[in-house]
Every structure is written in structure tokens, then in C-alpha cells.
């Protein structure tokens, strides 16, 4: 038998039918549903008089539209269109018998935080969600695809997805990270290197010492942004950390089944001599804290660098892209990143709203104050359970004392479908994953950073190397 990558193994163990033209029907173990990309899928089922193939494979939770200020029920959503969308999810879950963590349930939160937290995401499974950040779940050695609404409906109706196998890509980060540099910096540096189309058509496996040393939540941050490098799938091999993370979670296997599962998961790593179609290597110790300056995640540099100059870009389409981005972002070519003032801070999103992210932000914010020039600083935990945990650790007090608003779980200002919006022209240090024009609010200017760097920017009122702040603190 020839050597296989982790992706090959996950793929092979889920092929229902292989067609001659390369398309295959692959079996899907889990589907997560949220209010934005599911209503038309349920409607499609109803119109065709179809039933879900396997009800127990699905889990629903509203996240994109939910308010993050105090609320008790769906009726508290002020925007009538948002309210209808959330209510539609409730009604569909009820009609089709699908488990839902609705508004008011402590387990409600961002789908990509909830899945792993509940043990719904398991190593060796295939998982889909009508959301491109589904790659997050690959951190646990699951083959997780973001899909469109037609595919949501297809998986509901058939428990399968029509797919062509992707190519294999290995992104290896060797050595060790410097203190103050975290998973978000690693993934931003990778995207900066390979570009937003660098992983198109590939499943990316993240390997090397840095990922071996990284926590599971850190791996989620990295896999989450595989899509920003163009890859639908991001993966990390299963190790003891993965198994420890999964053990005891509500939907994880128990008793004898747990033993059998752990045994089955031992092989969830690429064989030593497996072939990758593309390999990229980075040196961990060379990665500095990252800040995006433009309107695409690949427009990213180290905090100690300058904003690039389009005049020095040889490629005309790229130079034009830089010019457009600088004009949208209101930045000058050649200015220092640390001279960019920040008006808003957003710590949250499926990239960075887990307990470790909040702990890292709290470490920087302890005993500090948000700069007076900052107009609003938000911290939005990824789920009700993350919120509860943070409060048990007293992190909420650190945030509130520093001048942050401590909110309820949801997607919030990551995409501003609810009331949390970045006003036009304002700069935001954001731990989310996309800095597209208007992403956080029409005309808003997003800078992608790690939770530590967002916290440091909040204190300084501009971008600053978090390592500098930590050293003056001590």
C-alpha cells in the first residue's frame, strides 16, 4: 500500500462511489447549521417533499444575527428581518427534529466554537457547514468543508457531498515561536507568504514543530483561516493533545466506545513518506506579530514594518490592488504600521473567541486602561460556555476594568450582520479573519491581528509590538 497523507486517509474512508471522471460521492458524518445559509436549504427539502437522511448527524445554532447585548429570547432581536431569520431556524429545527442550541441556551454560540466544544467535531469524521470557516474543525483531524446552501440541502437529503478530490499541500512551520507571537500571527504570516489563492484546489495540512507544540485551540485558529489562503480544508494530525481535548465532551464517545474510538484515531496522521503536491516551509522563530494593512488577508506585514508602496510593485494588477487598498484604508505608502491609530477594538469571531484567546487578551489588559482615543472596545466570547468559563476565571472583570464591553456570544462585528458595526472611516484592530471592504460595516477599516496585539493596540491607541508592552509592564 502506498503512503498516504492525512487528507488521503480521511477521503478514502468516506468514499461511497467513485466516478470515472474523478467526481466522488463522499459520506458526511456531521453537519452544522446556522440561520443565514440554511433557510433556502430547508425550503428546498419542503418543496421537493424530501426528508433529512439522518437527523442525528445535524446540529443547529444561530450565530450571525444574534444580538450581543442583553437579551432573553428571540423576540428581543430588534431588527425584524434578523428576527425572522433566527425564528426560521428555530422553526426548521423543530419541524425536522434537529437538535438546536437556540437563543437563551448556554451552549449557543458561533458554530465553529460550538462544534468542537460539544464534542460534535470528532477526529476522523467528515463535517460540513454552510460557512467557509468550517475548515476550523480540521484542527481535530476532521475533514471539514465549507459548503454553499445547495450543498447544505444536498447533505440534508442524501448525507453525501459530490466532490472531486483536492490536491495535497503541506505547510510546515519549523522551530519555535518567539514569546508574544501566537497562532494568529503564524496563519497571517502563512497567508502573507502564499497569498489568498495560494491554497486554491488544495487541502492544507499544517505540520512541523510549531503545530506539534501548539494547543488545540491554537490549531483551530490556524485551520480557521485556511480559507483565507484559498483552501477549503485545513488539517492538523491527531496526537495525544487532540484525544485529551475531545475526552469527556458531551457528544464524545463514552466507555467502551471511547476506547475503540481512540484506537481508531491513532492512524490519523500523514505517513512518513506521503506525497504532497506542494510544500511550503516557514521558520517559526522568524515570525513577528502581524498586522494587516489592506483589504485582503494577504495584505499583511509585521508590526515593525511599513505600509507597502505600489510604485515598488512590478505586477500591474497587484500595484493597482495596493493603490485601491491604500485609498480605501486611508493610509499612506511607506508609513509605519505603528503609526496607524486605532478607533475600535474587536476581540471575537470563530478565529479568536475561545477561552485561550480571552486569557491571552486578559494577560495584556490586566491593570491597564484602554486609550482615551479608542471609541469602542468589544470582547465577544464565542459561546455561552466560553463566556461562563471566562467569568469563572474573573477575566470579564479585567476586561471591564480596562474599559472593554463584555458581550454575549455571536459573530458580532466579524461581519456586522447584527447591530455591532464599525463606522465608516474608522480603523479597527480586529481578531476576526476578513478585512474586505465593508466587512465590519460599510466604509470600515479592518486590521487583522491576534488577541494579544488587539489588546496592546487598545492600550496604546495605535498598533504596537505586544512584546514591547509586555517588557515595559514587567
Amino acid at each position: 500500500m502506498s503512503a498516504k497523507t492525512l487528507y488521503d486517509k480521511l477521503w478514502d474512508s468516506h468514499v461511497v462511489r467513485q466516478e470515472d471522471d474523478g467526481t466522488a460521492l463522499i459520506y458526511i458524518d456531521r453537519q452544522l447549521l446556522h440561520e443565514v445559509t440554511s433557510p433556502q436549504a430547508f425550503e428546498g427539502l419542503r418543496l421537493a417533499n424530501r426528508k433529512p437522511w439522518r437527523i442525528d448527524a445535524n446540529l443547529a445554532t444561530p450565530d450571525h444575527n444574534v444580538p450581543t447585548t442583553a437579551y432573553h429570547s428571540v423576540e428581543d432581536i430588534v431588527d425584524p428581518i434578523s428576527r425572522i431569520q433566527v425564528k426560521t431556524l428555530d422553526a426548521n429545527a423543530k419541524e425536522f427534529g434537529i437538535t438546536e442550541f437556540g437563543i437563551g441556551d448556554i451552549r449557543q454560540g458561533i458554530v465553529h466554537v460550538v462544534g468542537p466544544e460539544e464534542g460534535i467535531t470528532l477526529p476522523g469524521t467528515t463535517l460540513v457547514c454552510g460557512d467557509s470557516h468550517t475548515a476550523t474543525h480540521g484542527a481535530l483531524g476532521a475533514l471539514a468543508h465549507g459548503v454553499g446552501t445547495s450543498e447544505v440541502e444536498h447533505v440534508l437529503a442524501t448525507q453525501c457531498l459530490i466532490q472531486k478530490k483536492m490536491k495535497n499541500m503541506l505547510v510546515k512551520v519549523n522551530g519555535q515561536l518567539q514569546p508574544g507571537v501566537g497562532p494568529k500571527d503564524v496563519v497571517l504570516a502563512i497567508i502573507g507568504k502564499i497569498g489568498t489563492a495560494g491554497g486554491n484546489g488544495h487541502a492544507i495540512e499544517f505540520g512541523g514543530q510549531v503545530f506539534q507544540d501548539m494547543s488545540i485551540e491554537g490549531r483551530m485558529t490556524v485551520c480557521n483561516m485556511a480559507i483565507e489562503a484559498g483552501a477549503r480544508v485545513g488539517l492538523v494530525a491527531v496526537d495525544q493533545k487532540t484525544i485529551d481535548y475531545v475526552e469527556g465532551r458531551p457528544f464524545a464517545p463514552k466507555g467502551n466506545q471511547w476506547q475503540a474510538a481512540v484506537e481508531a484515531w491513532q492512524d490519523l496522521k500523514s505517513d512518513e513518506d506521503a506525497h504532497f503536491d506542494k510544500v511550503v516551509e516557514l521558520e517559526g522563530s522568524a515570525i513577528e506579530p502581524q498586522v494587516s494593512w489592506g483589504t485582503s488577508p494577504e495584505m499583511v506585514v509585521s508590526v515593525n514594518d511599513c505600509v507597502p508602496d505600489p510604485a515598488q510593485e512590478a505586477d500591474a494588477v497587484k500595484a493597482d490592488g495596493i493603490r485601491r487598498a491604500l485609498s480605501y484604508m486611508g493610509l499612506k505608502a511607506g508609513m509605519l504600521i505603528s503609526d496607524i491609530p486605532v478607533d475600535y477594538i474587536f476581540i471575537g469571531s470563530c478565529t479568536n473567541s475561545r477561552i485561550e484567546d480571552l486569557r491571552q487578551a486578559a494577560e495584556v489588559l490586566k491593570g491597564q486602561k484602554v486609550a482615551s482615543s479608542v471609541e469602542q472596545a468589544l470582547i465577544v466570547p464565542g459561546s455561552g460556555l466560553v463566556k461562563q468559563q471566562a467569568e469563572a476565571e474573573g477575566l470579564d472583570k479585567i476586561f471591564v476594568e480596562a474599559g472593554f464591553e463584555w458581550r454575549n456570544p455571536g459573530c458580532s462585528m466579524c461581519l456586522a450582520m447584527n447591530a455591532d458595526r464599525l463606522p465608516s472611516g474608522k480603523h479597527c484592530a480586529s481578531t476576526s479573519n476578513r478585512n474586505f471592504e465593508g466587512r465590519q460595516g460599510a466604509g470600515g477599516r479592518t486590521h487583522l491581528v491576534s488577541p494579544q496585539m488587539a489588546a496592546a493596540a487598545a492600550v496604546a491607541g495605535h498598533f504596537i509590538d505586544v512584546r514591547q508592552l509586555i517588557s515595559t509592564n514587567q
Binding site: 467557509s132 450543498e151 489568498t196 489563492a197 485582503s296 471592504e437
Partner: protein, 214 residues
């Protein structure tokens, strides 16, 4: 699904790389629970002077005159010519819904983001990948000739320029078959119901923890 066979139409040039699905249809419009009606808000932030909201009367909103789709010469365009990595970002199928609802049936680009590419086929839109140099020369021809039209013939996988010159393009055989015949994926997959059931039984025996115990 609607069939796609052959089309002759005006080409509109979207001359920027990495056009993302947030730009194609901004998030405030994703609150709709319908599949239709997104066309008037296609490229909303680039197309209108003011900020669009669901429920606003779009017919009275001020247009950005310099935006390509607002220019008289591109009215009625059904073919969109684009640059690298078109449709990147969010997986929202509202993006192809909006493009289709506006009237686009074909998108030509040097590359597409994977999820968008996939979603397009499922909504009767043909995304054509063409060599970057060929795309650049098409941009030049479109800019130079008002009313520039292309004929796209899926059966023969060819494009025909106004000069009569033809350009071949490749399409995956399965997707071509589905588009030409307007086939619904779910119906096709359910023809393999017994294969799925057989697989599921074996899979369950190997991984019982993935199945609820009734």
C-alpha cells in the same frame, strides 16, 4: 435547475483581482430567507452612492456613475469578465444567486475561489477558467469596442469572438452534463441510494460512536 446551452451577449469587464463575495452581495442582504431578489443589490457598495439596506427602494438610490455596471454600454450584459481569484471569501451562495438574478449566466476569469466555482454550477451559471493572457486580451477588446459580445457554446466548449475567432475552454464533464440538461444534484445522488445505505452500514459497524443510539 435551469439549463445552460448557448448564449450570445454583451460582456461587462470587472477589472480587479480578488473580488470577494462580501463585495458581490454585502451581508445585510443575507438576512433574506428567499433565493431570489438579490440582483438589485449585486455589488451594492460599488454600485450605489449610499449605503444599501434590505427594504430600501433601490430605484431611487443614487448610482456611482463610474461603476462598470452603471455605464450605458454594459447594460444587458450577461457575461462577466473578471480577474484572478474571483468569488473568494465567504461561502454565501447568495453571491451566485445575486449574479444570476442580475442577469449573468457566464463568468470568465483566470481563476476562481473553489466554493464560489462550485456554487455557480449549482445555480445555472457557467464559470469559465481561461489563461490569464487570454483574459487580458479580452479585457482590451471589451474596452476598445462598445457593445462587444461573445458567444458561449457549452456543447462544443467554445467561445466565439465578434471577429469569428474561436477560443476553446475546458469544463468538467459531469458539470457540463448537469448544466446542459438542467439536472438536479440531489435527484442524481438519490439514484445511488442503495450505495449510500451499504456504505452507511459498514461505516456504522466501524464507527458506532458516530451514530445516535436509539
Amino acid at each position: 435547475m435551469e439549463k445552460f446551452t448557448k448564449l450570445t451577449a454583451i460582456v461587462a469587464p470587472m477589472d480587479r483581482a480578488n473580488v470577494d463575495t462580501d463585495a458581490i452581495i454585502p451581508k445585510q442582504f443575507l438576512k433574506s430567507i428567499q433565493r431570489t431578489g438579490f440582483g438589485v443589490n449585486l455589488f451594492d457598495e460599488w454600485r450605489y452612492e449610499d449605503v444599501g439596506e434590505p427594504g430600501k427602494d433601490n430605484s431611487v438610490r443614487p448610482l456611482r456613475k463610474d461603476f462598470v455596471l452603471n455605464q450605458p454600454r454594459y447594460q444587458g450584459a450577461k457575461i462577466l469578465l473578471a480577474r484572478e481569484n474571483f468569488g473568494c471569501g465567504s461561502s454565501r451562495e447568495h453571491a451566485p444567486w445575486a449574479l444570476k438574478d442580475y442577469g449573468f449566466d457566464v463568468i470568465i476569469a483566470p481563476s476562481f475561489a473553489d466554493i464560489f466555482f462550485n456554487n455557480s454550477f449549482k445555480n445555472g451559471i457557467l464559470p469559465i477558467v481561461l489563461d490569464a493572457d487570454l483574459v487580458s486580451s479580452l479585457f482590451n477588446e471589451v474596452f476598445a469596442n462598445p457593445g462587444y459580445q461573445l458567444t458561449v457554446d457549452l456543447a462544443s466548449h467554445q467561445m466565439i469572438k465578434p471577429s469569428g475567432e474561436t477560443l476553446d475552454f475546458e469544463v468538467d464533464a459531469f458539470r457540463r452534463h448537469c448544466l446542459l440538461n438542467g439536472l438536479d444534484d440531489i435527484g442524481l445522488t438519490l439514484q445511488h441510494q442503495s450505495d449510500i445505505e451499504t456504505f452507511e452500514a459498514t461505516h456504522k459497524a466501524k464507527n458506532p460512536w458516530l451514530f445516535a443510539t436509539e
